[in-house]
Structure formats: structure tokens, C-alpha cells
């Protein structure tokens, strides 16, 4: 993934680590950039399925 604010590239595992100190851990459903903390809404599963249906899905590593 690429952060929309600081352009840092990261994978979702490192994003989950940066949530460990937050009181909302696991509940806000956002992906947090580990570098700047910017919150990025993840793509919901149903949208991914619709995209796959129309062959417009994107691979990992691409925002």
C-alpha cells in the first residue's frame, strides 16, 4: 500500500503494528500508515468481489 499523505510504501502487517498503542485497537477498521499515522480506509471485501467479477481487481502492493 502507499500512504496518500506521505507516500510511504508499506504492507498491512506493519500498519497493524502501529495500532498497538491506540485505545481503539482493531475497532476503527482503518489502515494506519506506520510512518505518519495517516488513516487509509481499506477496500471492503464486497467491493473486491465486485471488482473481481468485472476483472478490475488490483494486486497486492498497489493502492
Amino acid at each position: 500500500m502507499r500512504c496518500a499523505l506521505c507516500s510511504h510504501e508499506f504492507n498491512e502487517d506493519s500498519a497493524k503494528r502501529s495500532c498497538s498503542a491506540c485505545f481503539k485497537i482493531g475497532k476503527c477498521e482503518m489502515i494506519k500508515c506506520p510512518k505518519c499515522g495517516y488513516e487509509i480506509p481499506p477496500e471492503p471485501e464486497w467491493i473486491k468481489k465486485v471488482k473481481r467479477l468485472f476483472h478490475r481487481g488490483r494486486r497486492d502492493g498497489d493502492l
Binding site: 499523505l5 510511504h8 506493519s14 485505545f23 476503527c28 482503518m30 499515522g37
Partner: protein
Amino acid sequence: MSRKRMTTKEEPLTKKKVFLVGSPNVGKSAIFNALTGSYVTVSNYPGTTVDIAYGKMRIGRHHKIDLVDTPGMYSLRPITAEEEVGRKLIFKENPDCILHIVDAKNLERMLPLTFQLIETGLPIILVLNLYDELRARGMQLDIAHLEHDIGIPVVETVATRGIGIDNLSSRIVEVIEDRYRFSPMKVEYSEEIKEKIQSIAKHLKNDYAISKETIASLIIQNDKTIIDMVKAEGSLKKIETLCSNLDFNHMADLISQQRREASQSIMAERSAGDDNRTRGGWKDKLSALMVHHIWGVPILGLVLWFGLYKFVGEFGAGTLVDFIETNIFEAIINPKVDLIFHKIFGENLFFGLFAGEYGIFTLGIRYAIAIIFPIVATFFIAFSIIEDTGYLPRLAMLLDRAFKKIGLSGRAVIPLTLGFGCDTMATIVTRTLESTRERVIATFLLSLAIPCSAQLGVLLGLMAGNPKMLFIWALTVSGVFMLAGFLCKHLIKGEDSGFFMELPPLRLPSFMNVFTKTYTRMIWYFKEVIPIFIVASIVIWLGKLTGIFDFLVNVISYPVQWAGMPKAASPAFLYGFFRRDFGVAGLFDLAKQGVLSGNGLLIAAVVLTLFVPCVAQFAVTWKERGKAMAIGMAVFIFPFAFCVGFLLNVLLNALGVSL
């Protein structure tokens, strides 16, 4: 006769270390993911908050490789903490191979780092990622001759589509098995530089993971970390003598220039095609205007005017709220709710819990759906469009100059921008700022003068029909913001921090991206807001029953009236203690009823914007900055907000302004 079974002896697994190095935005993570699959762990580099990703890959039966994704870097002379950590990793860990990942279409700009890595003496593979984008521009690179010129393996990849990854894996094996015949190109420096590097390298006694020439070249560029490292040797005095009359800046400029020239000469030979289609195109020109310290300001004004004021303020908070409140809640839901609960409870006090003036459905749910929902939806749509275009980092660069005046750097745009979404989360994000001083200043400004999304949207809606009111509100709040920041800068000791940010390319927003981000943010927001609004309704109902609510409203009515607002506005400020969006929704109701208008409305908007942080933000400030600071901020902000309201009222009356 017995037959002897032939067995082959298994070769032992080799364990090797491979580092990924490169600047941000080149697809390093994509390469890392493609090579490692899901075997990834992330941890902080010791003593820092910089994350390093570690992965494992297995190539064939014999090679187990530990892969390390280093933080983005532009040079082996670090500017940021991330670059410092990246360099430390390379210098200390002695990797068996370095993959230098570059953006193929910007190779000329990135080759200087390749040369620096080659000079370390470590085995390097140059990975030209995003190769499809280079071809899309009509350009081409002569890979075979490039490899011959630079003398290291060169591999082209499109990591997001898995192209070139198998080839890259083969080249990695070739290098770690010592089968590749390196003949790395060395930059031909001028005699002045060569002589200095050689004379210093001669006096370095210790063995280092990297070449002594690299250490020497960093010393003549006055790299403090390297000089400290060499201090331990005991040969520093001799080296200091050699550097005594050296102009370090001149040396650094000369070395950079000569690396760039080497890069240009290679590219002149080995690249083909016309990049003028995109270089200097309208996107580059617009990007330059956006960050310009003069032209960037009207561009920001246009974004705020159309994006926030017109779309969120007029359409969202005006048209949509009117429609939902009038045609759905007032016409259908509220009367039905009153009827149903009247049938169930009669005039019983529980009627007031669900219906009536402060009921769960008639107040809490109505606030959440009729007022907050359309405003937050339009706000998130506007924000997602702005975000998807790549404007936000440009905004950070534009505001960097202004932020320096209040003791912050452009990096503070990150938590302050997040504050327009939710101040509570933004307060947590202040920990990404480099110094304690910046964190304290940013936390204070978030508590004081940054309205959260729903609050901002409702305020815009309140003032949408009156641009003069909106202008005075914006001027007052931004004035308080800058003044408070300026005073903090001079009262809180510390040094200013630098700021460095990569700008992603500008692009047109994609409908799917905007829809996805808006949808997810809305789900998140309502999962949080609706339960809280219901609880707030219950708390108010209990407060009304016990008389505490009326008592507190009476207490707060004194500063409210002193500041020039009608007494009827007092409940909104009481709501604001719990949730700012609940507070402004209360103001919205009063404005619709005609109770609050004109100067009183403006003052209420200003005071509620500058009001104490909500309970959640207060709790997070306590956790992040400590009890004393959290309480101190709240105790200061409460009377300060009303004082600003009072002074504004006096000024408006003195100038004869009537809105």
C-alpha cells in the same frame, strides 16, 4: 551379492542476507512482497521508531534468504531519521547482496545512489521497477549495455504484476553464489577529491563492513555520524589534520555534481525515446503552482471554497439536511415516534427517554441521521477527492513555511489535517513528530483550534448563507491558531525541525477510490457516533430527571451570555463537553428555530470551535502528554474560548457590524 544403495549427500542450506534499498515511491514494498509472500515481520530499529520489515524467501533447495526492506533513502548522506537507520543497517549488517530498487523512468536521478552503493564494495543488483510506466512514456533502456557499462546485474521488473521477479530471483542466486563477474563502474572524481579520499582512507585502521573509500568520502563531506564512528579508532587526529582547511560544502557539491554527470553520460548512451510528452506537462506545472508560496494560496482558497463551503456547507448542510429533517424526521418519524411511545408509556417519565424533546429517537438518532450524516457524507466525499488527487502532500509543503513561524514543520500538517477528521486520533498521531516541543505545540493547537469533521461541516452549514460571517469566523479561528502557536514557539524551548516529503504524482480522482474511501469512513464514523449519541440522549434524560442538567445549563449560561450569546445556546455548550459534533448539532437546531442568528450565531460558532476538547480527546491527551498537561490545556482553553467570544462581540459592536 549385496547391492550398495547410492545416496547423494544433501548440500547444506545457505543462509544469506539481502537488503532492499531505494527511495520512496519506487515499489520497494511491492518487490519485497513479491519475493517474500506472507512471511513478514516488522519491528522497530533499536532506539528508534523507524519500522523495518523482515521477510524470508527460499530459492531452490539450497538458499534461505533473509530479506530486509530498508526505509526509503535518496543518498548515503542521510537527512531524515529513516535514512539514518537505513544507512546504519547497511554499514553494520554487511548484507550479502543489495537490491537497489529504482523507478525505471527516473533512472538518471537515481543512479547517483547506485554509484554510492557500488563504492561501498558490497554486491549490488540494480532493479529497474515500474518498467511498464517507462514503456508507456515511449522510452526504452538498453539493459544489456547498461549492465555492461555499470558492471553490475541489471533487471527490469513490474513488481505489481509479478513481471521480472523470477529473473530477479535468478540474479540474486547468481550473486550470492559468487557466480557473477562484477566489474563495477567507479565514478571518475576530480584529482582534488581522489587525492583527499585516498589520503584519508590510508589512515583508517579498522576493518569496516564497507569500503574505506566510502568512509573517507563521507568524512570529507563532514558526516558527523561517520566521524564519530572513526573517533574510536584513534586515527582521528591525523584525519582532522588532513581535513583542516577543507571546504566541506564545496566537497559535497563537487562529489554530487560528478556523480550526476556520470549518470547523465550513461543515460545519454543507453536510453532512447521521448519523455517530453509528460515532462513539463500540465500536471507538473499545476503541481509547481500548488506548492508555490504565492500561487498556492488562491489554489487552496479555491479548494476550500468549492470543496468545503459550496459542497459541504451549502449542499450537504443546507439542501440535504433540510430535506431529511423536514421531509423525513419532522414530517414522518418524529410524530410517529411520539405517538408510539405515548401509547406505550403515556405521560410516564420513560416517554422522555425515547421521544419528546431529548428522546433517543427524537434527539440522538435525529442528530446522527438528519444532521450529521449528510454533512459527514459530503465532507468525506470532498476529502476523499482531494486525497485521491495527491493534493494533501502539496498542502503540507505549502504550509511548511507558515508552520515554521509557530514552532512546527510541514510534517505537522499530518496530525493537523487528521484533526479535521477526528482530533482524538490526530492527538495520537502527534507522536510521529520529531521533537517533544513539536508534539506539545501540535497537541495544544489540536485541542484549541482544529474543528473535527462533523463539527466543521455543521459550522459551514450554519454559516453557508452568510459569507461575511464565514469569513470572520475563519479569520478569528486562524488568527487564534497562529497567535497561540507563535506564543508556544517562544515559550517552549527547543530547536526547529527540518521537513522532507516525497510528492506523489498528481492524478485525476478515481470514482472507485473515492467511493471506497467515503463508504469505509462513513461505516467507521457511524459505528462510533450512533452509540455515543444514544448514550448522550440517555445522559441528558437522566440529567433532566435529576435536575443536574438544568443546574449545569444554568452554570454555563453565565459565560455564554457574558460572551454575547443568548441563554438558549447554553445546552449546546454542555453537549460540546461530551462530543463536539453533538454540540454543534445543538447549535444547528437553535439556528433553524431562529433562536440563534446574526452576531450571536457567529460568536457561538467561534466559541464552540475553540472550546475544550471532547472527553475522548481529553483522555488521549492525558495518555500522550501526561495528566498535568491535559488538565492544564483544558483549564486554559475553557475560559479562553469564552474570552475570545467576548472580545469578538465587543469588536463587532464597536465596528457596528451586524450579520
